[in-house]
């Protein structure tokens, strides 16, 4: 018996439907499948079936057709150490999670599962489509892992072992449970409402009122799992709150759900007037939906971070120090100082220094900067970034937890653990609110018991549901999550929770000079020739400086260089050497010639001379960042006083201050002086300090808000509240805008939530709002809050 080419069901023996797909006549099981398949083929989407071809028709890839390095890497998966690290041992075999790349549809997943199941020794295969994660349980001694992974590659997909960090694992399992709870509540709600609808609208749909009891029992059966499983978190929290004597919104929620459920059961068996099964299911569903959205945003945040972890390859090419041979080794066996070879297209497995070759490196995963950056011999490169152009050899400087990328991740964790004050405030408000709600509900119940005791229960229920402060408690966290996530995607990393709030109060921003407002690199600003052509002078100077390691040398960038011989450096003075047979000196004027002419102007001038003849003056200066002026202008416009503190003694400080029109600039200040100055400023101004160097660390730690630019030293970064990963000052105004928007959204959310809750309260208390309407209103108000917060997902420019 054949299987339907389209849907996989077996084709009944008396059915003969065939269609040309992918060049062959294929059997189909029914007219419907034929119609769909025809539509697919005719719309040019035939390739859809390519992933679905049957086992026997899959083009076979033999391991030999895989590249050599890939085969070596695959065989690594059978190494005992590697296996122990990547897999869990279960009673019946080993278990591993693989991330599969290249899955585009359900058919791919189906194909992979089916193919792997054919191997003997494979016990369990499950591919999660949304996460692209493959769970595999197999027996290594029957079929080695390398063979299984090889098959996945042969099918045209990529497989990588997956090991998320603990926090994410926890989040994921929470999310999985939340999905199940939500799904169950959704099903329950659909059914319960379906049963309840005829009761509300009377004889609609031909169902007579005499079947009410039947429907009530059916609703009871459906609602029970919803209450026991879906609503479980509320009861657990209720119990916890009782023990800790702390009120959260879970208290009225648990009372409402539990009360309504119990009362409805009573009513069902005693043939009472009202049941609330539909309201119970709806309420549970809407509450869970709100929480689900919020936790999904959090998980996404975490995943974006974990991308870093999951991009890290498991193996790399190590170069033998003496024999210069290359072997594939697992990353876990690398040591600091090892030389490794990174091929183009591969991810760097460790931080290191380039010792051979040069290439462009895509560092977007760390900086958000999409253009690859040129890296030369001796340059530092960051693990996790991607080699784009040509092979390079690295000497490893940091591995695993010490890598820059890992430091960044731990900073991110700190931010999420740090609860901003406004969130704390919201919690407090919610607590009082809950207390008020509980008291009020009791009052309402007692009052209505006197007025009309039949209505007392459902009115109290409505009050509890309608006033549920879920919008209130969602208001802040959703906004903060969205805002921080958006900033991170742009390369602005918030490492402390309070930042977004504090920034809105800031009145002053202080910049460090070198490396922050300037690029921290010397440049030739001006050349004044005394004899000969400027071009020649520059060429000679550059040729000499090419032989120096001094920072000044980097300012001279010229080609082609002339041949130079016998270069000698005089520390703190200059260089001398023979260029094309002539003796030249470059450096401090007094070193170069005995009676130097006066420098043309103030500034950092160096002189080039041949013998005792002065040839040219070079004015060296540190260049302003190209975006410094526009950034300062934008910050000023947003109402910040811009100041500068610098350790620099030169008149450059004043020059830059004038150029950028800073409110205040102080030069020649040591780290202690900076610290002193910051502490004299009022805390109320919430001064922002922007810096980069080691000398800025104390002042960054002291400032109410500290920002480190991306090129900063690691030490400076760990003390900063915000890191501009993309190394662009112009991100500062965007950060300010986002902070202010966030504050605005939070305020809107809180006002909306309070307004909604207080305005709906009288309606509910007067008995104008049935419980199911209350549940709908409650969810509506939460949705408003969530969607309002999601606006922060995009940065405004």
């Amino acid at each position: 018996m054949t299987d339907c080419f389209h849907c996989g069901a077996s084709v009944p023996h008396n059915v003969q439907i065939q269609l040309d797909i992918l060049g062959d006549a294929r059997d189909l099981c029914c007219v419907g499948c034929e119609a769909v398949a025809t539509a697919i083929v005719q719309s040019g989407s035939e390739s859809f079936y390519r992933y679905r071809t049957d086992v026997s028709e899959t083009p076979e890839f033999t391991p030999a057709s895989l590249p050599q390095s890939m085969q070596m890497e695959l065989s690594l998966y059978d190494n005992q150490d590697v296996l122990d690290e990547l897999t869990e041992t279960t009673t019946s075999g080993r278990q591993i999670s693989l991330i599969i790349e290249g899955i585009t549809c359900a058919a791919c997943a189906w194909l992979i599962e089916k193919q792997l199941k054919q191997f003997s020794g494979v016990e369990f295969v499950n591919l999660n489509l949304s996460q692209h994660k493959l769970q595999l349980r197999w027996q290594q001694d029957i079929t080695p892992l390398s063979e299984l992974i090889n098959r996945i590659y042969a099918l045209g997909f990529k497989a990588q072992p997956y090991s998320p960090d603990l926090a994410q694992q926890q989040l994921e399992s929470e999310q999985k449970k939340a999905t199940q709870r939500l799904g169950l509540a959704a099903l329950g709600m659909m059914q319960a409402v379906m049963f309840a609808l005829p009761l509300y609208v009377g004889d609609w749909g031909g169902i007579l009122a005499k079947y009410e009891t039947y429907f009530r029992f059916a609703s009871l059966i459906i609602t029970t799992p919803v209450v026991l499983y879906s609503a479980r978190p509320f009861f657990v929290a209720f119990w916890r709150d009782l023990k800790t004597r702390h009120l959260t919104m879970d208290v009225p929620v648990a009372i409402a759900i539990g009360g309504a459920y119990l009362a409805s059961i009573w009513s069902t068996f005693s043939l009472g007037d009202e049941v609330y099964f539909d309201a119970v299911c709806m309420f549970t569903f809407f509450l869970l939906a709100g929480r689900f959205l919020e936790s999904r945003a959090r998980l996404k945040n975490c995943e974006a971070g974990n991308q870093l972890a999951s991009v890290m390859p498991r193996s790399t090419l190590r170069i033998h120090p003496k024999e210069k041979t290359e072997t594939v080794v697992p990353v876990s066996q690398l040591k600091i100082g090892d030389h490794i070879r990174i091929l183009p297209g591969s991810t760097l497995v460790a931080d290191g220094i380039i010792v051979e070759g040069h290439s462009s490196i895509d560092e977007s995963i760390i900086t958000g900067e999409f253009l690859p950056i040129q890296k030369q011999l001796g340059d530092r490169v960051i693990g996790g970034s991607l080699n784009v152009e040509s092979p390079i050899t690295l000497q490893i400087t940091a591995l695993d937890k010490d890598m820059q990328i890992s430091t960044v991740m731990s900073l991110l964790d700190r931010a999420t653990a740090d609860k901003p004050r406004i969130a704390v405030l919201a919690d407090q408000i919610a607590q009082y609110f809950v207390a008020a709600v509980l008291i009020l509900s009791a009052l309402v119940f007692v009052s209505w018991s006197f007025i009309d005791s039949d209505k007392a229960f459902w009115i109290t229920l409505s009050v509890l549901v309608a006033t549920c402060p879920c919008a209130l408690s969602l208001a802040t966290p959703t906004a903060l999550t969205a805002a921080t996530g958006a900033l991170r995607r742009e390369g602005i990393l918030i490492t402390r929770g309070h930042v977004l709030q504090t920034l809105t109060r800031s009145k002053r921003i202080i910049f460090d000079k070198t490396g922050t407002l300037t690029l921290g690199q010397l440049n030739i600003e001006k050349i004044v020739t005394l004899k000969g052509r400027e071009e020649d002078a520059l060429q000679i100077a550059a040729s000499l400086e090419a032989h120096s390691q001094h920072p000044i040398a980097s300012a001279f960038d010229y080609s082609p260089l002339l041949t130079v011989a016998q270069v000698q450096a005089q520390t703190g003075a200059g260089l001398q050497g023979e260029v094309e047979g002539h003796e030249y000196k470059i450096g401090l004027a007094s070193y170069v010639i005995d009676q130097p002419p006066k420098a043309p102007d103030n500034g950092h001038w160096i002189l080039l001379a041949s013998g005792q003849t002065a040839l040219a003056w070079f004015l060296l200066s540190d260049q302003l960042r190209p975006d410094a002026a526009s950034t300062i202008a934008a910050l000023k416009k947003s109402g910040l006083d811009c100041e500068m503190l610098s350790g620099d003694h030169s008149e450059q400080v004043q020059l830059i201050a004038n150029k950028l029109q800073l409110a205040k600039a102080q030069g020649a200040i040591n780290p202690a002086g900076k610290l002193n100055y910051i502490s004299t400023l009022s805390q109320k101004d919430a001064t922002i300090m922007v810096g980069d160097g080691i000398n800025d660390v104390p002042v960054l730690a002291q400032a109410p808000v500290s920002i480190a630019v991306g090129s900063a030293s690691d030490l400076a970064k760990t003390h900063a509240d915000v890191i501009l990963m993309a190394n662009q000052l112009q991100h500062l105004p965007r950060l300010m805008t986002q902070a202010r928007r966030t504050a605005r959204v939070i305020k809107q959310n809180l006002v909306w939530a309070l307004l909604y809750n207080t305005s709906v309260l009288p309606l509910a208390a007067l008995g104008l709002l049935p419980p199911y309407m209350a549940a709908i209103g409650m969810s509506f108000s939460s949705l408003v809050v969530v969607f309002n917060a999601l606006r922060l997902n995009k940065l405004q420019t």
Binding site: V31, Q42, S43, F48, L129, M194, G206
Partner: protein
């Protein structure tokens, strides 16, 4: 409970019958959409909205026919009822893979499909919710025995609005199975493909058919 033509039954019919459509239409939207990360929820929902709208329109027309027949022939109600009950029994057999009489209807129905199907050409791969909606509107007309038998069943109601509502509920009933985004869709799929589940679903549908026929006499 004497009247099987309730919205609940319609939903149940859709739900029980969806074991059949899952292989055929389930995830199709997903598989055919341009986005490699899988289609957005909006595309899924718009597709199904279109599909359900088509069903409801078909139901509306069936209801009109039913109304016309019932008002012109006094016995039409009884005949239609029996016929639709038989259709439901056939549907059960269809799901079991035992009888293929419904396929005869499918073949008759495919002439409509051949007319409308070219309209869907420009819509694949699905790029936006608008495309999804259009595709749903068109693909709601797929020659499908399941739809035909439900349609004939809804005709018995002899009330355009009621019939349309029944068909819409039927479409809603397919949703849980067809929306493969839910976490348990994969498990659900496997569960539904097991023989005994198929068997019990099919017999439930057949029981519905029998009940439809017998209902007038049960009072």
């Amino acid at each position: 409970m004497n009247e099987p033509l309730s919205f609940l039954s319609a939903w149940l019919l859709g739900f029980l019958g969806s074991v059949h459509c899952m292989g055929m239409c389930g995830g199709i939207v997903g598989a055919l959409s341009l986005n490699t990360k899988g289609p957005s929820m909006a595309i899924h929902l718009s597709y199904h909205l279109g599909r359900i709208f088509t069903y409801a329109s078909l139901g509306f027309m069936a209801g009109l026919i039913g109304l016309w027949l019932a008002s012109t022939h006094s016995y039409a109600g009884q005949v239609l009822r029996v016929l639709s009950g038989v259709m439901l029994v056939l549907m059960g057999g269809y799901i079991l893979g035992r009888t293929h009489l419904l396929m005869w209807f499918e073949k008759r129905g495919s002439f409509i499909w051949r007319k409308v199907q070219p309209l869907s050409k420009g819509l694949l791969p699905v790029r936006s919710p608008k495309h999804g909606l259009m595709l749903g509107l068109i693909w709601g007309l797929l020659p499908c025995g399941l739809i035909y038998s439900t349609l004939s069943w809804s005709l018995v109601a002899a009330n355009p609005l009621h019939s349309a509502g029944l068909m819409a509920m039927f479409g809603l009933g397919n949703l849980p199975a067809l929306l493969s985004f839910a976490a348990f869709a994969q498990q659900l799929n496997r569960f539904k493909q097991t023989p005994w589940v198929r068997f019990s679903l099919a017999s439930l549908i057949m029981a519905f058919g029998a009940w439809t026929i017998a209902a007038p006499w049960l009072n």
